[in-house]
Amino acid sequence: MTAPLLELRDVCKSFGGIRVNDGVSFVVREGDRIALIGPNGAGKTTLVNVISGGLDVSQGSILLGGHDITDFSIPQRVDAGLIRTFQITRLFTNLTVAENVALAVMQKKGITRKFFSSWIDRPNIRDQWMQILGLLGIAHLAAARVSQLAYGQQRLLDLALGLALEPKVLILDEPAAGVPSDESGRIIEAIDRLPPKIAVMMIEHDMDLVFKFAKRVLVLANGRLIFEGDPSAVTHDSEVRRAYLGTYADGRHTS
């Protein structure tokens, strides 16, 4: 059997002695559709930061395609196909929507080393960013500056940047938070249209969305993975219930 796309081995992350991620291990395989859920403050975003290289691990290792990438820089991980989006959107606010996505497209193609004349409207570049914006239903905003967008539209654009980077593993941190419900269907739709080999891990609170999307659910509570399994089983799991009812949230559990 081939190595899993992404593997976490006993990943720990502490801030000032407090373990925010505590011995997290799991694997992500080609084509996976994983929902990572858990109460607020469980350490989900921290885990994404650790995986993407924004934060160093305190302990443990991260493997991509069987290679240890624990010491890789952020851009090295991106080059390797490990792409994330942000819970609180981070975009290039003084650029237009088209420029944002085109930049990601050009970065992926190695074109950002070109020093002369605009490439955004060259057919092979334009087709790509137009297609991604179309997929997310924001093509009509191509010429808008990010600072002029509604928050929900910014969320979609954050996802568009991720798609433009041709991910192998795409990690979405609450992509639907702040997106009006009639538009959040776009996110699932866009993911459905991704090449099937791409693995997607989504952090999400909206359980309807989770059930629509996920083939597998991971539950993080107080930094620990307390459940991994079928979406249909997650709501019946007693430990998961306790986590959401707050037994874990006060941080005094022993197990």
Binding site: V78, L91, S118
Partner: protein, 334 residues
């Protein structure tokens, strides 16, 4: 929102000629106007053009990349000294001397970039000042190379392209400088719209996000510093070629600070802002200091306050937004 967007789209697509051609013609006309308005003071205009390069170079790192620096004149000055020494050593061809200035500026820019781009915010600013002060101190001490406080004098380049001698009235110097400026400016217009220029603007917006799309931010910033240095170096070279002397003022902290002021007045982050800010500031300074030698600093300070209050993003962005508001009313409602 959509009004303004439609405007921007139309503005670029309705021009029946490339924007660069428009820039070329506009600058040539402005240059001619300068020649007519200041026929007896071409030396002033020529000095002005040298500083325009410095402000353009600052715009590349500060306006486009968001790097806070008060050490840009160090690059300008080092290039000017390099050109001065090259000329005194016998390399008198003005175009070759421009090349010397460009290379010296690029090297000095890369070196500054390695230090300054490593940091952000206040540490970055302080480091840039430190680099500038270090260069200024060395220029003062290494008098065998720089002439110390007396400056480097007696720089007399040969004819441009072997034909046009530098004349007493400064006509050759002016035309030469203007031509170089137009060429460099048009090239820069294309450069800042390039994928690399776009990446730099993105880094300015959010450098972590830029890394998260795979950009190597630090090396890119160093590279931009090198390019910026080459531009500053051309300015230093022209100043050395045209004035025949290079003094300590060319590496001074005051010069760096004034450069930043000119950029802010015109509008950082647009090349037109750098160009217009530096021209307006210097002409204003020229007139006011002549008209009122005692209070011109006060008047200049007041002007600065007014500009920053009413056009915090600079004169050029202000003008653009005014045109945006007025143009739809004049031009029908298509």
């Amino acid at each position: 929102m959509s009004d303004r967007l439609a405007m921007e789209d139309r503005r670029s697509s309705r021009l029946p000629f490339p924007a660069e051609l428009g820039a070329l013609v506009a600058m040539a006309l402005a240059g001619l106007l300068g020649y007519l308005v200041f026929p007896d003071d071409l030396a002033f205009l020529t000095r002005l053009i040298g500083i325009v390069f410095l402000v353009l170079s600052l715009d590349l790192v500060t306006g486009y990349c968001g790097i806070a620096t008060l050490g840009q004149s160090a690059i300008f000055g080092v290039a000017a000294y390099a050109v001065g020494n090259a000329c005194l050593a016998g390399l008198v061809d003005p175009v070759a001397l421009l090349g010397v200035g460009m290379v010296a500026g690029a090297v000095m820019g890369l070196a500054s970039g390695v230090l300054v781009a490593k940091f952000q915010g206040l540490p970055q600013l302080v480091l840039s000042i430190a680099v500038g002060q270090l260069v200024a101190a060395m220029a003062n001490k290494l008098s065998s190379v720089t002439g110390g406080s007396d400056g480097l004098a007696g720089i007399s380049p040969g004819p441009v392209l072997g034909i046009f001698n530098f004349d007493l009235y400064g006509r050759t110097g002016y035309v030469f400088s203007l031509v170089v400026l137009v060429i460099v400016f048009v090239i820069l217009l294309r450069f800042v719209r390039s994928p690399f220029g776009l990446l730099c603007r993105a880094i300015k917006d959010d450098s972590l996000r830029a890394r998260m799309i795979g950009a190597r931010v630090y090396p890119r910033l160093i590279l931009m510093y090198g390019i910026s240095g080459a531009v500053a170096g051309i300015g230093g070279a022209l100043t050395a070629i045209n004035t025949g002397v290079v003094g300590l003022d060319s590496v001074s902290f005051e010069r760096s600070a004034e450069t930043l002021v000119m950029l802010v007045i015109g509008g950082a982050g647009t090349l037109w802002g750098a160009l217009i800010g530096s021209v307006v500031f210097q002409i204003f300074e020229h007139y006011v200091s002549a008209a009122n030698p005692f209070h011109w600093m006060t008047i200049l300070g007041l002007m600065l306050i007014v500009v920053v209050l009413f056009a915090p993003r600079g004169l050029v962005p202000l003008a653009v937004s005014v045109v945006d508001r007025i143009a739809p009313r004049l031009g029908g409602k298509s």
